[in-house]
């Protein structure tokens, strides 16, 4: 009888949020197939090479999402778990730089390979930080006004993670991590004074880091004036814009796009939104943006309905992270922001990113089932 009572307290999950999440994932799978077909043909005999892998990632991801939905998220609210997770996260970031375990892709060391599985450490770090910050803010919410007790520990941990990621190098993700941490601190009630201090203090450092590598400077100049650099650094961004332009109102039709044919770099990962723009047109683009809007709005709704502050921070942390990442990615493809290698959540091909998205969504769903408690 007692067990039954507990079950009654658990509600159905937030149906709108679930439907939107699944819609984003399905649309993502379709677009990965379309965008990756020709790239797959170049590296294997089949056009479905990336598609098959994406579907495997997707099924694992949906499995994790539904399992997390069943799990009572409050079990995650433990100091030991939080700090162990941080330790694991830093270990995996550190391993990226160890030859033999760290895997190079292009000029970046973003992956580790363990027992045949390749994993992107920064994606794990995102989950770890969501968990840690939520735990920390829930516990220290009363002392958030004090810089050294409430703000500094978060700054140190996210800052260190950001430095590791910056060294990979992955400037975009590092910057995203810091912006997101500030957002979380702001929501938790950090003082305006502290916000401005940190903001004005870190700005020169960020600018310096931005200009420290030639390729980042090139990306910046290409962003500012892509047409003068169309032959080299501006090439990607011009072809991304061209994809949107060719798409027009209704798109050229699913699978009919041509910019994915080796004009766009990474059409199935970083530039999948351009493929959507070309093949599904403004209509498709607006549908995707709307789905993200509903998803974020619904997550905030769940967060505000929750009485438990750990649950609240978990949802806000997951949702702002994914939301910001999606906005940055879409902004890059439409040349509102300079190019950074960042995936579009729910859409881009990539197992680690898929894992991060499904864990975040699963946690939000788990909170939504227990919002009355």
């Amino acid at each position: 009888m007692r067990k039954r009572q507990v079950d009654e307290k658990e509600l159905d999950c937030d149906l709108i949020f679930l439907v939107v999440t699944l819609s984003l994932l399905s649309l993502g799978a379709i677009m990965v197939y379309s965008a990756s077909f020709c790239v797959s043909r170049e590296i294997s005999n089949s056009g479905a090479y990336y598609m098959v892998r994406h579907l495997i990632h997707l099924s694992i991801g949906i499995g994790i999402m539904f399992s997390l939905m069943q799990l009572d998220y409050r079990k995650l609210n433990s100091k030991t778990l939080a700090y162990l997770a941080v330790l694991a996260g830093f270990t995996s970031l550190f391993l990226c730089f160890i030859p033999g375990i760290g895997v190079r892709g292009g000029n970046a060391r973003r992956w580790i390979s363990i027992m045949g599985f390749t994993f992107q450490s920064s994606e794990l770090m995102k989950i770890v930080l969501i968990l840690f910050i939520s735990h920390f803010l829930a516990r220290k919410s009363k002392s958030i006004g004090k810089f050294s007790v409430g703000v500094l520990p978060i700054l140190i941990i996210t800052g260190t993670a950001a430095i590791f990621i910056f060294l990979e190098p992955d400037f975009g993700t590092a910057a995203l991590l810091l912006i997101w941490a500030m957002t979380m601190l702001f929501i938790a009630g950090m003082r305006w004074k502290h916000l401005f201090l940190i903001g004005s203090g870190s700005l020169p450092i960020v600018v310096l880091m931005l200009l420290s590598a030639p390729y980042r400077r090139n990306r910046l100049t290409a962003f500012l004036d892509p047409w003068s650099h169309i032959q080299n650094t501006g090439y990607q961004i011009v072809h991304s814009m061209l994809a949107f332009a060719k798409g027009g109102l209704l798109g050229v039709g699913l699978g009919e796009g041509t910019q994915k044919l080796f004009y766009l770099p990474a059409p199935h990962t970083d530039f999948i939104f351009s493929v959507i723009g070309e093949e599904l047109g403004l209509l498709g683009v607006l549908v995707v943006i709307a789905l993200f809007c509903i998803w974020i709005w619904r997550a905030f709704f769940i967060a505000l309905a929750t009485k438990d502050s750990f649950g609240f921070y978990l949802v806000i942390a997951s949702c702002t992270f994914i939301g910001l990442q999606a906005i940055i990615n879409m902004g890059v493809t439409m040349s509102i922001l300079p190019t950074t290698g960042m995936a579009l959540p729910f859409f881009s091909y990539g197992g680690s990113a898929m894992l991060m998205v499904s864990v975040a969504s699963g946690i939000i769903l788990s909170v939504s089932r227990r919002s009355r408690i």
Binding site: S44, L242, I327
Partner: protein, 568 residues
Amino acid sequence: MAGRVKLILYMLMSMLALLGIRAFDLQVVTNTDLVSRVYNRIDHTVKLSARRGFILDRRGQPLAISVSVKSIAANPRMIRNPGLLSRRLAKILSLNASRLKKRLSSRKYFVWIKRYATPDEVARIDRLNIKGISYFTETRRFYPEGISLANVLGIVGIDGDGLEGLELYYDKVLKGTPRYVVVEQDGLGRIIYARGLPKTSAREGETVCLTIDRHLQYIAFQALREAVMKNNARSGFVIITNPMTGEIYAMASFPSFNPNNLSYTDLLSHKNRAVVDTFEPGSTLKPIWVAWGLDNNLFNPNEKVFCENGEFKVHRTTIHDHEKFGWLTVSDVVKHSSNIGMVKLVSYIEPRSMYKCLKSFGFGTQTGLDFPGETNGLVRPYTRWTSVDRAELAFGQGLSVSGIQLITAFNALVNGGFIVRPHLLKYIGDAHGNIIHTSISTIERRVISSSTSEKALEIMRQVASDGGTGEKAQIKNYQVFGKTGTAQKVDPITGTYSKNAYVATFVGGIMDTFGRPALTMIVSINEPHPYHYASEVACPVFRKIGHGCINTLGLYPVLKVARKGDTR
């Protein structure tokens, strides 16, 4: 706190809205402008080469054809073990394994492994069944006559442009009009064929039919090669022409090269020596002086000159004959090729008239042959001649001519006095076999009268009769005419005439049944050792090729006038 949460929510929402506005701007407002801006930068037309036309011989036999050949390529991104694969491929295709490995390890999507592989190689690699290897059908030029006509036909580059010889001269005709089609390309520049190619009218390459006779060419080349080898000579060439029309039946050079297996190592062997090389004609010039003198009534064929018993001083130079001659008639001077007699005969001709003679016979200017890189030769202006120069010109030293110039001048001697422009083209036909242009023989000018021509022919018939220097050119039952020439070469180091480097030349021809020249031929052997006399070196080659010509062209012997008592 709720206020701050809402602030963040609104910020996220407005950023998403901004993205929507940007998308609207890109996709609906500025889209056409943007598309044209990018598209104007990219060349969307590709050139599709037409099939290169064939080259045929005068009987329509193929001399150069385009055939489909497989080339092997690979996608290095799909190749798992470049080291092992490159070793296996290198063994089958006889390539350099380490260089191949480098190519297969690249990050490219496409590399050539071997262009123009043999069907056997393709089959053996296909049997390995390797992922990432693909085959492309390309057209390749094939020359059925191989080495024998290579210097004339020339070569075609790997991208289908004529680079040398007739392939270069008639490149525009053979190439046809390439199609330019507007296509979509992928980011690597490859054409997207998924939607098919637009249809445009293309003009296929046209067929070039030559005056060359494949059989005569083969016979001439084989005989030439044999002669160059046997006489330890440096090189040689043969031209066979029709003296009436200027058609070239055969044009052989040795050394030559195999056009079906190019290596580009020995470019000297690519020279068409009959057209681009010059040499001093030596005694082969004598009949021209004689004809000029006869035509200008300076002497007559039976006039006698004293040949000084083999030694004659002109200023400080002594001129020698190869035998001691006394009094010789004009025609005997040519028959025995007496230098001294010739010097004396030429002294009747004014220097200005001599110069005019050389110029009107075409020396010092191109003949107009349809072949690239024809040489002008060299005739110095008569104002600069010394008396020794004049004497040497009498026996063909001190000027340089090309083989084609010499045979063209010689043709004028025997065809009634016309300089007929030599040519290799018979007709141009379109891809369907219709003739669209026929080459018509062109008379450049008349240099001597027909009666002088007949006299010159008779004198040269004497050369090839018993006791003449061209004795060894005789062909049984046929009437042969011609003139030998053994010219000293200028030593490139000392700048004086060399004692052991000679050019042995025979210019001659064969009469048809009615006593008219049926064909003319020049045989020139460069630096033969140890025998250097044209009568020993060049005449036997003429006779050998002449026999082949008689069979191939079906020439009948000269008619015989029946005598009393003849029963058969």
